[in-house]
């Protein structure tokens, strides 16, 4: 898909919105979708720094939810809270709750390894392991006990195809992943995340280190992935949020200023600060 086609689709969304019939249809689909994540009065501190304040957000199934906001407003902190990676920082303390599919992720009986198997993550900088492409993608399956070579082969092929990079690497699966370009590495990382067959994929500025062509490829890929996965993406690129997401949350200084359907956030935001931010007046 080219970027012009992406634009076309965004225009189509706007057309949808103004057409009354279509709007009711869209409302119906939204009612049908279920929340995968619900943050309930969620607070987080780094030592004394109250980094997230009373976050209440629902992310829906099979949607792309975008988190935007100026640098340092807590986007990464929040997305890393969803798979509890934020707890790797020892001084972190949380209050309130995050519910994943009707279960609190902070529940004592819920192990983080289990959560992270269902909630995969793609990071800002492509971070493949210094291993072969094959071993990178097979990593998750192996960690979860898959030994059978045939099964692993299938997992690797399916995931690489899912990440739209199979054709580029199928002849050199045993080469080190470090030999690939940044954009290819990031798609390897997406394939690696897909290989554990997650339910939700978290992406923290997945294209910020990439060139425009790789960025387009990954945005196109996300449109495809949305059919099978729920995606939460942090981006400081507002055009990207507008292009790809269904809903957008605007974070500012640790709290959610506004959360709505993406076209509402960009076309008729309710809060002045949201309007200032999306129109590029600050941030």
């Amino acid at each position: 898909m080219t970027s012009s086609k992406v634009k076309e689709e965004k225009n189509m969304n706007t057309v949808y919105d103004t057409a009354v019939q279509d709007r009711t249809e869209e409302n119906r689909t939204i009612e049908q979708t279920q929340a995968v994540f619900q943050a309930k009065d969620f607070n987080l501190w780094y030592g004394n720094n109250h980094a997230l304040q009373n976050i209440n957000l629902d992310f829906n199934e099979n949607e792309i939810s975008a988190i935007i906001g100026p640098s340092g407003c807590g986007k990464s902190t929040f997305i890393k809270s969803l798979n509890r990676m934020v707890e790797l920082v020892p001084i972190v303390r949380t209050e309130g709750d995050i519910v994943y599919r009707d279960q609190s992720i902070f529940d004592k009986s819920y192990t983080v390894e289990d959560l992270r198997t269902k909630v995969g993550m793609v990071f800002q900088k492509p971070n493949p392991f210094p291993k072969s492409i094959y071993d990178n993608v097979a990593y998750g399956a192996r960690v979860h006990g898959v030994r059978n070579k045939k099964v692993l082969d299938q997992v690797v092929e399916k995931s690489l195809k899912g990440a739209a990079i199979w054709d580029e690497v199928k002849d050199r699966l045993n080469d080190n992943a470090y030999g690939l370009s940044g954009g290819q590495q990031q798609r390897i990382c997406i394939a690696r995340a897909l290989a554990i067959e997650p339910d939700v994929i978290l992406m923290d500025e997945p294209t910020s280190a990439l060139d425009p062509i790789s960025t387009t490829k990954i945005e196109d890929l996300m449109h495809e992935l949305k059919k099978d996965y729920s995606i939460v993406i942090v981006t400081h690129n507002m055009q990207q949020a507008a292009r790809i997401s269904d809903r957008t949350a605007f974070f500012y200084q640790g709290y959610v200023v506004e959360y709505d359907k993406t076209n509402v956030i960009f076309d008729k935001p309710k809060d002045q600060r949201t309007e200032d931010y999306v129109s590029g007046r600050f941030g």
Binding site: P90, E113, V143
Partner: protein, 292 residues
């Protein structure tokens, strides 16, 4: 007005350039002093000991007659010592490094321990000899056995390997740790599948350099009472043994001047082993460096 007088500058330029050139040669001279002394020492030793480096030299025990003296006993003893020291030292130090870097909480006590492990690396080997004598030889009643010496040597090289391993583990980027943990891998899986494979070249380099230090050490062996001349080789870790540096040390004390050449031959063997180990370490370091 110009603040810098261009004419003055060019007048003084030649002087600056001259000083620059002179200093370059002076420093080259300093470097050469070290190199020349080292080369003289090496050449002298090689010339002196060369004719004793016969096959018999490697297959016979030490003897009171220089022409039939060999290093067989000492060489086998050193191999025993290294074979027992290496696993003890590696397991203890890599385990310590993993704990300190991956598991230990970040607090003052742990920091204190980390600093002191680096300090331990600077403790003279005699002190480790005394520790070994008290703890292993006397208290644990291991006598002057391979095991007692190996435990002593392990403690001596432990800090070196710990520090090298820590640095190596720390240099594994946190981004790939996060990638592993983010996929639901446990900490242990992350360590064995991602961190150790990435850190292993640095760890091995540290191990080899530490072992090559242990191989040449004499002081701790003297203190724990390892015999200088022994006409049998150990058959188990509780047997006593002799080692290359001990053998060299015992020959050099003998009055017969021919033994100086035998000593030189022993030194050549020891140096060759050291050289080999260091080459392997350098090879590994160059081959695997700059991977991130």
């Amino acid at each position: 007005m110009e603040l810098i007088n261009k004419q003055e500058v060019s007048k003084k330029l030649s002087g600056r350039l001259l000083l620059n050139k002179v200093l370059k040669y002076i420093f080259l001279l300093f470097t050469l002093v070290g190199l020349v002394v080292l080369a003289t020492l090496l050449i002298d030793t090689v010339l002196d000991g060369w004719r004793y480096l016969t096959p018999d030299f490697f297959t016979s025990y030490s003897s009171s007659r220089p022409e039939s003296a060999g290093i067989y006993g000492a060489l086998i003893g050193t191999l025993w010592l290294m074979a027992v020291t290496a696993p003890i030292a590696i397991i203890l130090s890599v385990g310590t490094a993993l704990y300190l870097e991956e598991y230990a909480p970040k607090n003052r006590l742990v920091n204190f321990i980390k600093v002191n492990i680096s300090n331990l690396a600077g403790v003279p080997s005699v002190v480790f000899g005394l520790l070994g004598l008290t703890l292993f030889v006397r208290l644990m009643e291991l006598d002057s056995s391979v095991l007692a010496a190996a435990l002593t040597m392990s403690l001596m090289i432990l800090p070196v390997i710990v520090v090298a391993s820590q640095e190596s583990i720390r240099s594994v980027p946190s981004t790939i740790r996060e990638a592993s943990i983010g996929m639901g891998a446990t900490k242990w899986q992350t360590i064995t599948r991602v961190i150790l494979p990435a850190a292993v070249p640095g760890i091995i380099t540290g191990i080899i350099l530490a072992l090559s230090r242990a191989i040449g050490e004499t002081a701790p062996l003297i203190i724990i009472g390892i015999p200088t001349i022994l006409l049998f080789t150990p058959t188990g870790v509780l047997d006593t043994f002799s080692a290359l540096p001990m053998q060299i040390y015992s020959w050099v004390k003998l009055p017969n001047p021919e033994f100086q050449s035998v000593t030189a031959a022993g030194i050549i063997v020891l140096l060759f082993i050291l050289f080999l180990m260091n080459s392997v370490a350098i090879y590994i370091r160059n081959k695997y460096s700059k991977r991130f």
